[in-house]
Structure formats: C-alpha cells, structure tokens
C-alpha cells in the first residue's frame, strides 16, 4: 500500500500559483452565486463576472514560465496559458454582450454569468489538460454549461429545441469519447498524454485497439469542433441559442477543444501515423467543401456563420494534420484570428438583438449602410476577415495555414483550401452587398440603440482585426516568443 504523503502533489505553493487563472475563475463562480443569494442585481453580477475574467487574465502574468505539472493531470505551460488568455478575453467580451442581451429578461438573469464563468473554467481546464481525466471533466463542464446557456431564454421555443438537440448529441458523443479513451487505456495502460507518447514512440506500429480508440476520440472531438460527419447540430444550435451563447460555442468551446486535440495529436505523433492522417485529411476535405457549399444556401446570418465555422475548423485541421511546431504555431495564429472575427460577428448580432427578438435574418441587415454606417463597416470588416481578404487578420491566418500545408507537402488539402475559400468569398460578399442595398422603408424593423459596452467591444475587435491584418508581425512575434521558444 502506498503512503498517502508520497502521492500528494500539492506540495508547493508554486503549483497553485501556476494554475491561478483556473482558481480565480472557480472562486468567482462561487462568489457570484453567493452574491446572487443575498442581493440580486444584474449590473452587479455583470461587473463581478467581468472582474473575474480581468483578474484571471492579470494572474496569467504570475504563472511561472517553465511548464509545471500540477497534480499530474494539468500541465501549466505557455501554450496552454496563451489559449487561456484567449478564452478569458472572449469570456470578458461575452459577459459584456450578454448584459445588454438579457437585460429585458424578467427573472433570474444573474445566473447566466455564473454558468458563463463555469463554462470558461471548463475551457481553461481543457487548455491545460494533459490527462484523460482532466480532458473528460473539462469537456463535461463545458458541455453542461453550454446546455444551460443555450436554453437560458427558456420562453423561446428555438432555444429549448436547440438545447435538446445539443444535449442528446453531446451526451452520445461523450459516451463515444469515453469508449475511445478506454480503448487507448486498454492498448497502452496509460491515461496521461506523456505516458501515451512514450508508448507510441516505443511501439513499431500502432495496434488496432489504439487506432480504433483514437478514431473514437476524433469522433468526440470532431463533434465539439463541428467537423463534417459530426456537424449536423451546428446550424440549428447556432440559430436557436441566444446570440451571446452562440458566441460562446463558436469561440471558447471550439478553441479549447482544438487545443486539447493538438496536444493529443502531438503526443501520439499523429503526423507519422498514416491511418490517422488519412482519416483527418478526409474530415478536413469534407468540412471545407461541405461547409462552404452549404453556406451558399443560407438566408439567416447565424446559420450562415454556422456553416462558415464548419469550413473554418476544416481549415484549422489542415495545420493540425501538419503537426510539429510549425503546425501548432499556424493553428494558434489562425485560432486567434478566427476567435477575434467570429466574436465580432456574433457580437453584432447580439448588440442589435435582445432576448425575445433576434435580428439574424440577412434581410434584417438590408441597407444597413444607410442607416448605421459604423455598424455596417464593422460587419463588413468582420465578413471580409472571415473570407480572408488582405489587410484583415483572416488573410494572414490563411497565409499561415497555406504556408504550413505547403511546407509539409499536403497539396491535396492546400488546393481544397484555396478552392473552398473562393466559394466562401461569394456568400460573405453577398451579405455585404445586401447592406449596400438602397433604403426601402417597408417591413424593415429598426434596430434598437446599440449599448455602450457592446459598442466599445465591437470597436476594439474591429480595430484589432485591421491592426493585426496590417502589422501581423506584432501578433506573430508575440506568439513565437511567448509560446514556442520553449515548446
């Protein structure tokens, strides 16, 4: 029998300090809940949630530079911390957006922020996790928060429908994911990623058991990333969920799952395993083509963005497949670009909407240039960035992806990426053209006044898209020195 002391892992204060952002989020979720119990005030809970995200962001500065293994299931390295930064800043923006969106709700709107903090906590756990246990618990924390965030406006039938769809499918894929973990554990006897990496480097070729397990994990992860054979929930959930929640699903949920998948892929040295590369290439091809082709048919902005997000995750997968450090760097850059842009897109939908009326049909944005030039400019910049037009951050991101793909001789995927991007350009520009339509007074409901907080957030996002598009070196250098100097 082992001595309890010998396995106690919290021996140093540094261990706690190195996961400070996680602890701050966890603490604030309880604090906000307690404050709600004594004094219900939506403004107060918004401020507290925003404080949680800001404090957690600041605390990243105090986490140590060398990677620290915490309690052996989390690894606090710069790679994870960078994504935590991304998650926390997205969380801050979503908090601001949710305030104006939910303001009109009659009762119990404060809990939204508790769940938002807990969901982001799940994301941060995923970003740091180095073990199947933390992988699964982080994913479940994220999923359960998403169910609640989707159905939060429970008077709207769309929300409930979307939540049920997501609940059933996410439940099934969690089971599939667990089965995959069990198979890999059966094949390797390890649950930690480093242990699995050790097994893979020693084995001559992977056993069927291991490949099958990894395939099932791809299914579970692919569902969360909405890659093509597992994407069916995406448009309905994006459309039905309240706009801030859609922003949450599109940014925090997807980014954190991409991080954990990159970690796992690097651990099993996926770029060297032919089976895995073939499967992922097929998924990437289907995602890019199907996402862009189906987006052509959409008349609803949220559905259109849903299909475009399927395509974008397909693009990211190209760099993931490339593997190695250059692949991880391209993934990081593209994710920053994607999260920034999509946050802006859903930010615009949520500042003009509220809990019982959402302006998400493309028709609603007709002749926006003549009614609200600033908002229309912001939306145009965001759509152009999604399309990957030069001078926006989306272009630089795509350049990174293409560069990585060519460097690793993934010609088939690179060509698919280029062709599908051209198809994609069409539907983004169509929305912009709609905004330039001359004013027609009939059946256009005017948007409400744009809230100050949301307006500032959108302004910053739009400015960053152009700034990083014009001077990409700032972001690229930051990523390189922060993360990959010691990766």
């Amino acid at each position: 029998m082992r001595k309890p002391e010998s396995v106690l892992k919290f021996r140093r204060v540094n261990d706690l300090l190195s996961i400070a952002p996680v602890l701050i989020l966890a603490g604030f979720s309880i604090l906000v809940l307690l404050v709600i119990a004594f004094y219900r005030n939506f403004i107060l809970s918004t401020i507290l949630a925003a404080t949680a995200f800001i404090l957690a962001t600041i605390s990243i500065l105090f986490t140590g530079k060398p990677p620290a293994l915490v309690n052996h299931i989390l690894i606090a390295d710069r790679f994870g911390m960078f994504f935590i930064l991304l998650i926390l800043l997205s969380g801050l923006v979503i908090t601001i957006l949710s305030h104006s969106y939910l303001r009109g709700l009659e009762k119990r709107k404060e809990e939204y922020h508790v769940i938002l903090i807990l969901g982001s906590l799940g994301g941060t756990i995923l970003a740091l996790s180095n073990h199947f246990i933390s992988f699964f618990i982080g994913l479940e924390l994220l999923s359960i928060s998403i169910y609640i965030l989707i159905s939060y406006t429970r008077d709207r039938q769309d929300s409930i429908e979307a939540a049920i769809k997501y609940l059933l499918l996410a439940g099934v894929t969690s089971a599939i994911l667990l089965m995959g973990m069990a198979l890999i554990y059966a094949a390797t006897g390890e649950m930690g990623f480093s242990g699995i990496a050790g097994y893979v480097s020693e084995a001559e070729n992977l056993s069927i058991l291991f490949s099958a397990g990894f395939g099932l994990i791809i299914t579970g992860v692919g569902f969360k990333m909405a890659l093509v054979p597992f994407h069916l929930w995406t448009p309905d959930v994006y459309e039905g969920a309240p706009a801030p929640t859609t922003a949450f699903i599109a940014t925090i949920s997807k980014a954190s799952v991409v991080v954990i998948f990159v970690r796992l892929y690097l651990a099993v040295n996926g770029a060297e395993q032919e089976v895995i590369v073939y499967i992922l290439s097929g998924i990437a091809f289907l995602s890019m083509m199907a996402g862009n082709l189906l987006a052509l048919l959409q008349t609803d902005l949220k559905r259109l963005l849903a299909y475009s997000s399927i395509a974008h995750l397909g693009y990211i997968l190209v760099a993931v497949i490339a593997g190695k450090d250059s692949g991880a760097e391209a993934v990081t850059f593209y994710l920053v670009a994607y999260v920034l842009t999509i946050l802006g897109a859903f930010g615009i939908v949520s500042v003009v909407s509220d809990h019982d009326r959402e302006f998400s049909a493309i028709e609603d944005y007709q002749s926006l240039f003549w009614k609200d030039p600033l908002l229309a400019t912001a939306l145009s910049v965001i759509l152009l960035s999604l399309a990957g037009i030069p001078l926006t951050v989306g272009f630089i991101g795509k350049y990174y992806l293409l560069f990585t793909g060519i460097e690793n001789d993934l010609w088939f995927l690179v060509i698919t990426l280029v062709i599908s991007s051209v198809i994609g350009l069409f539907y983004y520009v169509r929305v912009i053209a709609k905004m330039f339509d001359p004013v027609s007074t009939d059946r256009i409901t005017p948007f409400r006044k744009i809230p100050v907080g949301g307006g500032i957030a959108l302004f910053v996002i739009t400015a960053l898209i152009i700034l990083y598009g014009t001077y990409p070196a700032w972001l690229a250098d930051f990523i390189q020195t922060m993360i990959f100097s010691g990766f």
Partner: protein, 194 residues
C-alpha cells in the same frame, strides 16, 4: 486454501481464472440481452425492469475484475436511482382508481419472468465466485474502498474538485430550467399557469 463445493481444491490458479472467464462471458451475455430488452420494450416501466438487471450485471462484471467498491456503487447509484425513477412514475400518475387499475396492468406476473430469469443467472454466477474467494489464489489486484479514496483525494484531487463545480453548474441549470412560476398577464384577464 479454502475448500469449496463448486470448484475443487485441486484446481490451479489458471484453472480458476478460466472459470472466472466463463462466468464473465455469461454475465456479459446477460448484460447484452437485458440491454437489448431495454431498448425493444414498448412500455417504459417494463424497460426499467430490464435496465435494473443490466446495471446489476455490469456491477457483477466490475466485481469479477476486482473492483468490489465500484460494483457496490454501480448497484447503489444506478440500480437505486432507477428504482427511485420507478417510484416517481407511479407517484406522478397516481390520479385515482382508474390509474390504479392501469398501473396494476403494467406489472402483471408475466412481466417479471424475463428479468427474474436473468437475475437468477446473475445470482448463480455471483454465488459461485463468492463461495470460492478466488482473489487469494489468483493474485487478482483488488481495488477496495481505501485505494479508491486515496487515489481520489491525492492523485485526482483536482479532478474531484472540478467535478464539484460541474455538479454546481448542473444544479443551477436544473433550478433555472425547472422552476415554474405563475404569470399574470393582466389583472382583468384570466390568471394562467405558465
């Protein structure tokens, strides 16, 4: 070494493991059959009966694998929770003598035959192992309560804490989605339960 009526003393550890393997396959077959029965029943209450059997057989598989504590948890949490569900169904539909009649119709003696046979098979398999106590002979690594507790609160302490937060999120969600409230649209209009 203990003597046993079912497995003779002379058997080597390998032979005992073989016997356990056979028992494992029998139990697995019960698990598969009962789960198929769960998804093919038209009536929810009948399906629940088979679901209990399915959980019991999975608990038994855990027991054979040397995890008696997890086996006990499986019975208490899953099979126990199903019983509670059962009671809820009966409680919620208990609206008068007509429903009483209806409920009696759900649980005719014939319904119990299938689950009883499967449970009996499980009982025999369980008794066979229990009377032989093979762990001592085969060196099967037993994971008891103490081991589970130690690994939960040292190695996986962080995971346990996170699970607490996960449950908190779930409870807040259940509270938000489940709460009912009376909505009065206008005082002259009819009061409606929303």
């Amino acid at each position: 070494m203990k003597t046993s009526p079912l497995i003779s003393e002379a058997l080597s550890p390998e032979k005992i493991m073989e016997k356990i393997d056979i028992l494992f396959y029998i139990t697995s077959a019960v698990a598969v059959i009962s789960t198929i029965m769960v998804i093919t029943r038209y009536h929810a209450v009948h399906a629940l009966l088979y679901l209990v059997v399915s959980f019991l057989s999975i608990a038994l598989i855990f027991y054979f694998a040397g995890a008696p504590f997890i086996a006990a948890l499986e019975v208490i949490i899953y099979a126990g929770a199903i019983m509670v569900l059962f009671i809820f169904v009966v409680m919620m539909l208990n609206l008068g003598p007509r429903t009483m009649e209806q409920e009696r119709g759900w649980t005719t003696p014939a319904i119990w035959i299938g689950p009883s046979i499967l449970s009996a098979v499980l009982l025999v398999a369980f008794m066979t192992v229990l009377m032989n106590n093979p762990a001592e002979d085969t060196g099967l690594n037993l994971v008891g309560v103490q081991e589970v507790g130690i690994s939960l609160f040292t190695e996986y302490l962080l995971a346990v804490e996170l699970t607490g937060l996960l449950l908190m999120a779930a409870i807040i969600g259940a509270y938000h989605l489940g709460s009912r409230e009376k909505k009065i649209y206008h005082r002259y209009l009819e009061k409606t339960d929303q």
